[in-house]
């Protein structure tokens, strides 16, 4: 990915499982995206990051180009994080991709109803997991154009 138009962008990974985190970051690293990956480990931390609260009060930069969001997490789960993001005019344009082990049709339906941008089920097999994250990272980190930072899209 050496095109001047296709630069890697910041990816926010919200993941509480250390193994999944390690595999995801490793898969993204293969694409040279890992320097642009920020990891937070539960939904509360994800919201603190987005709203620049607590430990993120003085962070630089706008919203990430994409947020990869697990569902089952401590404190605040992924569905609640998604709900808050997609109901906030300042954040709702930010692409959110669920990256979850849940194949429950109720989770799938709820996420799409809440306005999720995409929904990826974590493959169980390692090589398939790596491949899926790789393809996901290329599309959302490189091919997709995220909304311009700092915009308000609320109706």
């Amino acid at each position: 990915m050496k095109s001047m138009h296709l630069k890697p962008k910041t990816i926010l990974l919200v993941e509480d499982d250390p193994n999944d985190e390690e595999m995801t970051v490793a898969a993204l690293k293969k694409e040279g995206l890992a320097g642009d990956v920020i990891v937070v480990r539960d939904g509360a931390e994800a919201l603190d990051f987005l709203y620049r609260r607590a430990g993120f009060a003085s962070r630089d930069g706008g919203p990430p180009a994409v947020m990869l969001l697990d569902i089952k997490m401590p404190k605040v789960d992924g569905l609640e994080v998604l709900r808050q993001i997609k109901s906030d005019p300042h954040l709702k344009a930010m692409p959110v991709v669920m990256l979850t082990s849940s194949e429950e049709s109720s989770d799938l339906a709820e996420c799409y109803q809440l306005g999720v941008n995409a929904y990826v089920v974590k493959p169980v097999r390692l090589n398939e997991f790596i491949k899926a994250v790789h393809d996901l990272g290329i599309f959302w980190g490189v091919v997709n154009h995220p909304p311009p930072a700092g915009i308000q899209t609320g109706a």
């Binding site: 138009h5 296709l6 344009a93 109803q113 941008n117 995409a118 990826v120 599309f139 909304p147 915009i151």
Partner: protein, 146 residues
């Protein structure tokens, strides 16, 4: 992979040809349906007009150009995302515009993703291929069907 259909709304014959060729490389092209303006795209989604008898439910993703005759891509997006039965269908805008106001407008109305068509031939093919892999193979589409 099961029957995952892609709907392409594109009025430019060259862009259509390139898009199909890029998807074909990954054996996705036989599941692709092309419409050539926004009105046709809506007829397809609502199974009306010449698509009255079509079968097969909703596409797993709609690749939507903006500047098209009759009804623009933005209008198509607004209608789809305002319809409870259709709004969960992923819509990827595939356009030549990289203007911020366009990006904002499309995201505001619920576009799932926004891809600027690369001018360079090889870059265009690569972008479509990567888009096709993600949306046809990696993403889990919603379960809704008309």
């Amino acid at each position: 992979m099961n029957m995952r259909q892609i709907l392409i709304a594109e009025d430019d014959p060259r862009d259509e040809e390139l898009t199909l060729a890029a998807l074909e490389e990954y054996n996705l092209a036989n599941k692709v349906f092309v419409v050539h303006d926004g009105a046709e795209a809506l007829d397809y989604m609502y199974c009306r007009g010449k698509f009255k008898a079509r079968v097969g439910g909703n596409p797993v993703v709609i690749l939507l150009d903006n500047k098209m005759p009759k009804v623009t891509g933005l209008e198509v997006l607004k209608i789809i995302k305002a319809d409870e039965r259709l709004k969960t269908i992923p819509v990827v805008v595939l356009t030549s515009s990289r203007e911020a106001p366009d990006l904002i407008e499309f995201y505001k109305h619920g576009a799932n993703a926004y891809v600027v068509k690369p001018v360079d031939f090889a870059e265009f093919m690569k972008a479509i291929k990567q888009l096709g892999i993600f949306w046809a193979a990696v993403n889990e589409p919603p379960l809704n069907n008309l």
